[in-house]
């Protein structure tokens, strides 16, 4: 882990010092041992503002090794500012290989999405988490929410869902949809769309969650039960889309709305850019796909 | 004839702490018993302590000295020393009481006021209401009043509700504190008939009746309360 190349001599490998990494790894191990439990940790100042993934970056920095291949996505995209700069950060401070291909990555740091391509054993998905406490909006006192977790008092979580149904006729929560992990802790899956919740259930990949500002780490080990809370007569449902991806024609994937002009023109496309490109390379076409050869437009990892 | 209630050497006084703790003796050496199927009447002028004796027998007044032995649920209990819980059980199962005035509860209808003691004894509400209707009809309370709370009723109407409430249950002992005081002749006769029916059913009654005619009609025995004046015992 201490292998250093000369051009990054001014930083320790992966930016954090070894003592900090050790502390964070301990928190991660505790998190893995108690799935869904929020482990407090001494979050460090990172060279980026809170809200830009400082929690996820610290987790990634603590687990990454020279042989790892890193993929970073923001809302499913590899090419947005946040993803590009975090990828560049680790290229610089750890000199690791980076990729946009889900299947090739060993560590995927994500904000707000789980890739469409199924994850496999050995992969680690690192979530950036803004507010780790699922009970926070109902109970502002940290002392009380901790007690509620400790005593498994989760009635309040269903009060929120009840209010949704009473007000909207259905559970209107669409992201950060609360889940119960391994039948014990209620957990905030970070602001991923609830579309992704089923992917967390018994995933072969290790899922780690880092909240930098709130100083919490939690984890879902591979093959762990992750069940979305619901009512018997209002079961959990994921979003569905009326039309396939406008570019690659994919169905049953999470779509983003893209505004095309200021006359109301818009289209729905895969939020997972890597998945979309792969499909287009394979020759799939949506109804708004350009006729040009996509191979030449393929996104390169940012430097 | 069985004797379900025996009073022996009971004494009662009030200590007025707000008036320098002066002690007002009420009765002393109260001893008598009542028998099933009989109506015993407490006699004596106003202020002799008749009401106080009745209230002690119902657990409403504390007893300073002596014993009040009641047959309750196949056992004997000294009411003078019984725990509140036992007194409540005695009131529910053994001793009924018709007070001088009805203590009304807001918003509860006359019918339910009457049916309540039966419901408390575990009877179905509708069955209890049916019995309450029959009693109120017998006591000539106009039917249009049954569903109203008795708070606004006249004295006589309230008293009839009170009597119905006291007579509806099958307590083996029934205490009556001037039940006929504010009734007209017709309803007085109804009460006399109700008392006669209780006697036939083997209830032991103990009452205070200022009305001479009623007393003549119902009394089997008279216990003279002046014999229990506190001065006499001291002398």
């Amino acid at each position: 882990m201490t292998a250093q190349s000369t051009d990054i001599a001014t930083y320790n490998f992966a930016y954090l010092d070894e003592q900090t990494k050790r502390m964070i790894r301990r928190a991660i191990l505790k998190g893995i041992a108690i799935p869904g439990y929020q482990v407090p940790f001494a979050s460090r100042e990172m060279p980026m503002p809170y809200g830009w993934g400082t929690g996820g970056v610290q987790v990634t920095a603590s687990i990454i090794g020279p042989d790892d291949v890193l993929k970073v996505i923001d809302q499913g995209a590899d090419d947005t500012t946040n993803a590009v700069s975090i990828r560049a950060f680790f290229k610089k401070v750890a000199n690791v290989a980076v990729t946009t291909e889900t299947a090739k990555a060993t560590i995927i740091q994500t904000r707000h999405r789980i890739p469409e391509h199924p994850l496999t054993a050995g992969q680690v998905l690192v979530y950036q988490v803004p507010i780790p406490e699922p009970l926070r909006f109902l109970e502002p006192r940290e002392t009380e929410t901790r007690k509620m977790h400790a005593l498994e008092e989760y009635g309040l979580m269903h009060v929120k869902l009840y209010e949704d149904i009473a007000k909207h006729g259905r559970i209107a929560t669409t992201y950060a949809y609360p889940v119960k992990v391994e039948g014990r802790y209620v957990m905030d899956p970070s602001p991923t769309p609830k579309f992704d919740n089923p992917k967390m259930h018994r995933s072969p990949a290790l899922q780690l969650f880092g909240a930098g500002r709130e100083k919490r780490i939690y984890a879902v080990p591979p093959f762990t039960d992750v069940v979305s809370l619901d009512f018997e007569d209002h079961p959990f449902e994921i979003q569905t889309f009326d039309q396939p991806c406008a570019l690659c024609g994919a169905e049953n994937v999470y779509l983003d709305e893209v505004i095309l002009d200021d006359h109301g023109g818009h289209m729905f496309v895969c939020s997972d850019t890597d998945y979309c490109e792969k499909r287009r390379e394979e020759g799939h076409r949506g109804h708004l796909a350009p006729e040009t050869d996509l191979a030449s437009e393929k996104l390169e990892p940012a430097q | 004839m069985p004797t379900p209630l025996v009073v022996s050497d009971v004494a009662k006084s009030f200590t007025m702490h707000l008036r320098d703790g002066i002690k007002l003796p009420v009765v002393a050496g109260v001893s008598f018993s009542i028998k099933t199927g009989e109506c015993t009447v407490l006699g004596g002028p106003s202020g002799a302590g008749k009401s106080s004796i009745l209230k002690m027998l119902y657990g409403n007044y504390a007893v300073d000295e002596g014993q009040i032995i009641v047959t309750h649920q196949d056992g004997l209990i000294d009411l003078a020393r019984a725990s509140p819980r036992t007194v409540l059980s005695v009131r529910r199962q053994t001793i009924g009481y018709v007070s001088q005035f009805l203590r009304t509860v807001p918003r509860v209808s006359a019918l339910d006021v009457v049916a309540e003691p039966l419901v408390e004894r575990g009877e179905e509400r509708e069955a209890a209401r049916a019995k309450a209707r029959a009693l109120l009809a017998q006591l000539n309370l106009p039917e249009k009043l049954w569903m109203l709370p008795p708070a606004t009723f006249s004295g006589g109407e309230q008293q009839r509700v009170n009597i119905a409430r006291g007579f509806i249950t099958e307590h083996p002992i029934l205490l009556l504190d001037e039940p006929t005081a504010s009734l007209d002749a017709t309803n007085r006769d109804v009460v006399i008939e109700l008392i006669a029916a209780k006697k036939r059913a083997g209830v032991a009654l103990l009452g205070i009746f200022h009305d001479h005619d009623v007393r003549e009609a119902v009394a089997d025995r008279i216990v003279d309360v002046t014999a229990f004046a506190p001065g006499k015992l001291a002398a």
């Binding site: 007690k147 989760y154 009635g155 009060v159 209010e163 | 409403n60 007044y61 509140p84 509860v105």
Partner: protein
């Protein structure tokens, strides 16, 4: 009716430093019994209520509660998890100020349903039907079910708080001045409602009040407290009609006659 009490309290004392909260209080409470604790402000009645409901730990003494399985459990030796479970299933606590006992920013229906969800009910339709039923039992119009208690009058809030507490069929309810701060007419309605519910459900209750009329109407038994000590106790009508302790005589003689 069982012969065992629901709650056994023995020599309970609570001191705040050298100040006495309540001192050496003992009593038994049986199922279906309503016990009124009366006294003026500072008499220790609220301290006693808070100790009994385990919201406060006493300095000494014991209180044991007969659980649904018939076993007595020492309240102050239970784990916090067990006590909190008891609080939201087998017990209720009606606060003087409804805002202390309600979630003011969630709907009336959710306020009533919360305890059901807390004990594992996961059927929205059934939870809502139960909430509707309870709102009608406390005389709140069905169409207010999705309104927040912030939009309710004081009397309605108090009735909602009662429904929220009773929905899990508790066996023991603590009430702290349940009619305090309400208009007289609203008070009468609430008292009548409480009286009916207590009788129909066979609840045991401990009601703290400074209002002797409330005690007369709701309770069978009464304890009079002064300076942290019980100065007189007994049947409610006995204590009120034949008060023996000097302080009780003062209290009773201070009632305003209308």
């Amino acid at each position: 009716m069982t012969d065992e009490p629901l709650l056994r309290v023995s020599a309970l004392s609570k001191f705040y430093g050298s100040r006495v909260g309540c001192d050496n209080v003992s009593f038994d409470l049986w199922p279906g019994e309503v016990l009124a604790v009366v006294g003026e402000s500072g008499s220790g009645k609220t301290t006693l209520l808070n100790c009994l409901s385990t919201r406060l730990l006493p300095s000494s003494g014991t209180a044991s509660y007969r659980m649904r399985d018939g076993q007595f459990r020492e309240l102050y030796r239970m784990s916090e998890a067990e006590r909190r479970f008891l609080m939201r299933t087998d017990w209720g606590f009606v606060h003087q100020n409804p805002a202390d006992g309600l979630r003011m920013t969630v709907s009336a229906g959710a306020n009533v349903g919360e305890r059901l969800m807390a004990v594992g009910d996961r059927h929205y339709g059934k939870i809502r039907a139960t909430a509707v039923d309870w709102l009608s039992r406390v005389e709140i119009e069905q169409d207010r079910i999705d309104d927040e208690p912030r939009a309710f009058s004081g009397g309605m809030r108090q009735r909602l708080q009662i429904a929220r507490n009773l929905v899990t069929g508790p066996r023991l309810v603590f009430m702290d001045e349940p009619t305090g701060g309400l208009d007289v007419s609203v008070q009468a309605r609430l008292l009548d409602l409480l009286r009916g519910l207590v009788t129909d459900l066979g609840l045991a209750a401990i009601v703290v009040t400074h209002d002797l009329a409330v005690a007369r109407l709701l309770s069978q038994r009464m304890m009079v407290m002064k300076d942290g000590r019980v100065v007189e106790s007994g049947l409610t009508d006995r204590v009120l009609d034949d008060p023996r302790a000097p302080y009780t005589q003062l209290l009773v003689s201070s009632i305003l006659q209308v």
